[in-house]
């Protein structure tokens, strides 16, 4: 039998019973659709997070008080009582040639009021360096002025959301507000764009680090953000941070330095694992589709006993009968897979049009995987019915009408 004849014969057999074939197509299409969609969403989430990290700034290292053996994890919450990081520690880091800039950070939340309004905002104590390091942009006014970090000042920079909540449409620049019991003058408003890794910059209020320390009545820093001179300098910067702080902390290695690479790698691993897990769940629907195909093909074999007996009487060997039924199953799975691909493609296009910020796109390898899995499923689950057809006793199959 010629391959083209085989194809024609099985496609006509497949289309002869529309209801049955549509059911099979539907099952396969849903399976393939969910695999592609879930893989693509997982992959898009991964890319989104990577992108967010990139927007944190480049060549950054983060120095946290406390020691952690793991890379990229959160600082230890229990166990050791680490020595605090101080402003002097931070300033000492600037001695390293591998470090271009540092930004000591104090963070906490405090009530911010412009009578009669009051809001609880995230208060960040920082220096002028934060602006460049975190790629911030100003809506109005200017950021904290450069200068000696140990000297504070009663000035603040408001996030866009805090500004609109406290001042509404009124001019905020040059106005005074209260953080706790202290008075600050607004010298700038951040532009409204930017959510950075879940931290809404809009709900932030930035004040000089020394002022923040006295506001929260502490000498310690929340963290130090360090910018290396170049990507290649990151390991050197890390080494010198560790040695400088060790020297200052009486020989104790009691800080954790997180490089962006490590954080990125960790998130990358997490998201890849998640994507695989989700794809695995979706693959179960493909298996269900496969079982459905098997079921439907078994029914087709018993409905077409006469035809199978006839083909045998006309001189079709077992193998040929097997091929006919297998190619029917494969044809139906492939068509279903194609429909599923189209459906997934359309939904991804739609999702990415609805949520352009999330960079939703078709994972390039997902259709390949889904279609090959669908085809394999169709053939594997088609084997049993095809074998049953091939093994039918022709005399018996022909004896009934």
């Amino acid at each position: 039998m010629r391959p083209l004849d085989l194809l024609m014969f099985s496609s006509r057999a497949a289309t002869a019973n529309r209801g049955r074939s549509l059911l099979m197509l539907l099952a396969m299409a849903i399976g393939v659709f969910s695999v592609i969609l879930l893989i693509s969403l997982g992959e898009s989430a991964r890319l989104y997070v990577m992108d967010q990290f990139a927007s944190l700034g480049t060549n950054l290292l983060i120095v946290l008080p406390g020691r952690s053996e793991t890379t990229g994890g959160p600082p230890p919450l229990l166990g050791e009582t680490p020595r605090d990081l101080t402003l002097e520690d931070a300033l000492a880091l600037t001695r390293s040639p591998a470090i271009r800039a540092i930004c000591p950070i104090v963070a906490g939340s405090a009530p911010v009021s412009v009578p009669p309004l009051e809001r609880e905002l995230m208060v960040i104590g920082a220096t002028a360096e934060l602006y460049a390091m975190r790629h911030l942009t100003m809506g109005q006014g200017s950021f904290l002025p450069p200068g000696d970090p140990t000297r504070g000042g009663a000035v603040c920079v408001l996030g866009a959301k805090g500004k609109s909540e406290l001042f509404g449409n009124r001019q905020a620049l040059g106005q005074w507000l209260r953080i706790g019991q202290r008075r600050f003058r607004v010298i700038g408003v951040l532009s409204s764009t930017g959510v950075s890794l879940g931290e809404d910059l809009g709900e932030m209020i930035v004040i000089p680090v020394a002022t923040a320390q006295s506001l929260f009545n502490t000498d310690s820093l929340f963290r130090i953000v360090v910018e290396a001179t170049a990507p290649e300098a990151i390991p050197r910067a890390k080494d010198s941070i560790l040695s400088i702080i060790k020297a200052r902390h009486e020989g104790e290695d009691d800080i954790t330095v997180i490089t962006q690479d490590a954080v990125l790698a960790t998130f990358d691993r997490i998201f890849k694992a998640l994507t695989l897990a989700v794809a695995g769940v979706a693959a179960i629907s493909l298996v269900v589709a496969g079982i459905m195909i098997m079921n439907i093909m078994l029914v087709a074999v018993s409905n077409r006993r006469g035809e199978i007996g006839l083909l045998k009487a006309l001189g079709a060997p077992r193998q040929q009968i097997m091929r006919l039924f297998l190619s029917e199953a494969a044809l139906l799975s492939l068509t279903g897979a194609a429909a599923g691909c189209l459906l997934a493609y359309a939904s991804i296009r739609m999702l990415s049009a609805l949520y352009p910020a999330y960079l939703i796109g078709l994972a390039p390898w997902s259709p390949v995987i889904a279609v090959s899995v669908a085809l394999t499923t169709g053939i594997v689950f088609g084997v049993l019915p095809a074998r049953r057809a091939a093994k039918l006793e022709p005399a018996l199959a022909l004896s009934r009408r």
Binding site: R12, K312, A313, R401
Partner: protein, 226 residues
């Protein structure tokens, strides 16, 4: 042409064994015209299926064209069926989704012949059986006689040596039945061996050689040598 010696066929039905064929010995020469008659369950159809290689004997030997069938594997037997044997059934066994022409073409397609030759042979067969104007009709749009003519055209399209007909008129009215018998006898006159199972004594009497079966045995053979 066909040599059966001491052939037995036993079916297992539940606990008991049913002897469908007992010590059947039969020799059929090329070009012969045989009718096999007998009551239901006498083994007529089993014998026909054995000759058509759709079934295997449990013991005894069967040679078709001087080839011992027992020594052939499944695909060689299929090939023999395709090339030497044409089946005609009581219930026609046409594939319902295929047109008359496509049903006739089926054996040529299974044999892998090229399209031009297939078309030519199908056209010739349709013309010979008076079906040219029915080429693109489906079986359910044809009368019983037309369906059986399509089935005969399909059975003979590979120019087999033997035609095996199992109650070919059993599902037809008298006129259509006679028409079908005329066609089959005409094919026999052209040299094809015709073996026909029938209930109808009148039909059976037309054959040159008549075999009567009872209980899996050949009771009476009008053409038995000696």
């Amino acid at each position: 042409m066909i040599h059966l010696a001491n052939v037995e066929r036993v079916f297992q039905v539940g606990e008991s064994e049913v002897h469908a064929l007992r010590h059947v010995t039969l020799h059929v020469a090329a070009g012969d015209y045989l009718s096999i008659m007998g009551p239901s369950g006498s083994g007529k159809s089993t014998l026909l299926h054995l000759i058509g290689l759709l079934d295997q004997p449990d013991s005894g030997t069967f040679e078709l064209d001087a080839v011992a069938v027992a020594g052939l594997d499944e695909s060689q037997q299929a090939r023999l069926r395709r090339e030497k044997i044409g089946f005609v059934f009581q219930f026609f066994h046409l594939v319902p989704r295929l047109t008359a022409a496509e049903n006739i073409e089926l054996p040529l397609m299974l044999a892998g012949l090229d399209l031009a030759e297939r078309r030519q042979r199908v056209d010739a067969a349709m013309a010979a059986f008076g079906l040219s104007d029915r080429a693109h009709h489906r079986p359910d749009q044809l009368s019983g006689g037309q369906r059986q003519r399509v089935a005969i055209a399909r059975a003979t399209i590979m120019r087999p040596a033997v035609i095996l007909a199992d109650e070919p008129t059993g599902n037809l009215d008298r006129a259509a039945g006679h028409e079908v018998i005329d066609i089959l006898e005409n094919l026999n006159r052209q040299g094809m061996t015709l073996i026909m199972v029938t209930h109808d004594p009148e039909l059976g009497q037309r054959a040159r050689r008549r075999i009567q079966m009872i209980d899996g045995r050949i009771e009476n053979d009008s053409g038995a040598p000696g």
